[in-house]
Symmetry: C2
Subunit: 324 residues, 2 copies
């Protein structure tokens, strides 16, 4: 049995018996995390999530899975661009928007205000600092942005600083702002600690990091145990394609509740089975596999260093080819 | 000015003025650790450590710096070998001994008993688990060894598990056993947290890890602030040569108190300026530099894959040469 078929959407309903729970759990390395979760607990959690699974699968197939957009507020965008993009993504049905912060606090306040003016307070705003601050600086800075009511501040400081994140989270809790992190988290032992310490109110697994799917499963299980929602990182080529499988599995087979998946509308056209987002909802993939297969022409054009686009750029002197 | 000359022993006394403190501190990256230590604090700590420095240098030159041995209890040694080695290192003047544990608890108890019988309770015993256990397992196991009064348990679990180490440390504190770790610690942010959380009663910096000397300096400063003794890891080729410089600097110029340095009596003959340990004391190196220069013949014999010894082993079929 191919492990990935367990994940592919159209096989969810074949995954019922105790033996199959055991098979799934047997793929996870529990070393160093048994103080938080054991294989027996994991099996029991999966078992308890069976009720209503068919309905959830049906719901996913009909309604899709909510997404948020990171496209409206990259650094360096003009006010006009931000306004225009907010309008565009509102029109596309989005209700949750993330923007970058951390370069200049006054500029951040203006950008938050601008976005709030466009999207209103009935929609969700999130902010992302990409590890820019030290701990105390993060607290002071985000406090100044609190009037714009962000749901969370993402990566306020070093991705290794569990206790720093916990300190920031504690300081921001009275303001209703959570801390999100995880895309750079190096392994399950770090995730375990983020959850134990209260350093992570939103758990942002990344499908291409740590030990791959096996280790990510352990993070999903621990997050469920701590009642911390997983909202996957998907700001990179192929990440949307992969995390949709994980997150839909989590909804149907573990937590029974929907969260959000990040959506960045780039490079999906390079994939054989691209992510499809309609009305801001990820449409449930129905092909087997992890949706990672690139089109033949994508490889032909972009493989380094022989792809056509690279060769063109070498010839134009945009890049120099490195000879090994 | 060569940064390393600041470290070399015979230049300690040239390092007095405020400007030189600033120069040293300017080599350290304080990003992500300012919630624990700032450059201003570091300068003030170094300034406060000036008093009596000449006497400490003199003391080092005359008496040397205490070491401990890891040679008596590697895994797989017979009882007779352990007894013999204990006698040998006692005769050489050693008063502190570290052995490996973690394979089998009954065997560990026997080995601890055997070593204690040889070295008595007036000498120091330390135990090292090399990351073998999960958190709760570590606590149960070490409790069973507590009657042999080890000073510390080294690397009881994952080297990334700050909170796990803190849990273990809390459980073992009533038994008078500390937790030691650090040789695998991946950066200053992790060290910061180990110190903040009480997960490290003995800080084992490794001279060849994290960001090299610059980053290690930040760890020394944080350890001093938390009153946690640094006892460097030196179980690898060249480590003894390097850490002696760091540790003697720490004694003369930061903490004013002597601790221990690990000593493994292997491969020192390959270095131009080898570590010299007499009567279990590291003799203060008097040559400039970091003592890392290998002898020409060491490179000639052991460089991979062209060194004579490698070529010999390829010819004998002991290893196969990997062609790139």
């Amino acid at each position: 049995m191919n492990f990935f078929t367990v994940f592919s959407f159209n096989c969810f309903h074949s995954f019922h018996s105790f033996h199959l729970f055991q098979l799934l759990v047997s793929t996870i390395d529990f070393r160093y995390i048994t103080d938080v979760i054991t294989p027996e607990e994991a099996i029991s959690m999966l078992k308890n999530a069976q009720e209503g699974k068919e309905e959830r699968i049906e719901h996913l197939l009909v309604k899709g899975y909510p997404s948020y957009t990171t496209q409206v507020g990259w650094m360096g965008y003009s006010d006009a661009t931000i306004q225009e993009l907010c309008k565009k993504y509102l029109d596309l049905g989005f209700t949750a928007f993330k923007i970058k912060v951390g370069r200049d606090v006054n500029s951040d306040m203006k950008r938050c205000m601008l976005v709030r003016k466009e999207i209103g307070y009935e929609n969700t705003l999130m902010i992302d600092a990409n590890q820019i601050w030290d701990v105390n600086e993060a607290i002071e800075w985000v406090k100044k942005l609190s009037e714009y009511k962000p749901l969370f501040i993402e990566e306020p400081t070093s991705p290794d600083d569990v206790l720093g994140h916990a300190t920031i989270a504690k300081a921001l809790r009275p303001l209703g702002i959570g801390v999100a992190t995880g895309e750079m988290c190096c392994n399950r032992v770090l995730f375990k600690q983020f959850l134990q310490a209260g350093g992570m109110q939103y758990c942002q697994i990344d499908s291409a990091r740590i030990g791959g799917v096996n280790e990510i499963l352990s993070v999903y299980l621990m997050a469920k145990k701590f009642n911390v929602p997983v909202i996957p990182h998907a700001g990179g080529v192929g990440l949307c394609e992969m995390v949709q499988h994980l997150q839909m599995w989590e909804y149907t087979s573990l937590s029974k509740s929907m969260k959000m998946i990040e959506f960045v509308d780039q490079q999906h056209d390079q994939f054989v089975y691209p992510t499809i987002v309609l009305n801001a909802k990820y449409q449930a993939p129905v092909e087997p596999g992890y949706s990672t297969e690139l089109k033949a022409e994508a490889i032909e054009n972009y493989e380094y260093p022989n792809g056509k686009e690279w060769q063109k750029m070498f010839q134009e002197g945009i890049f120099e080819e490195i000879k090994y």
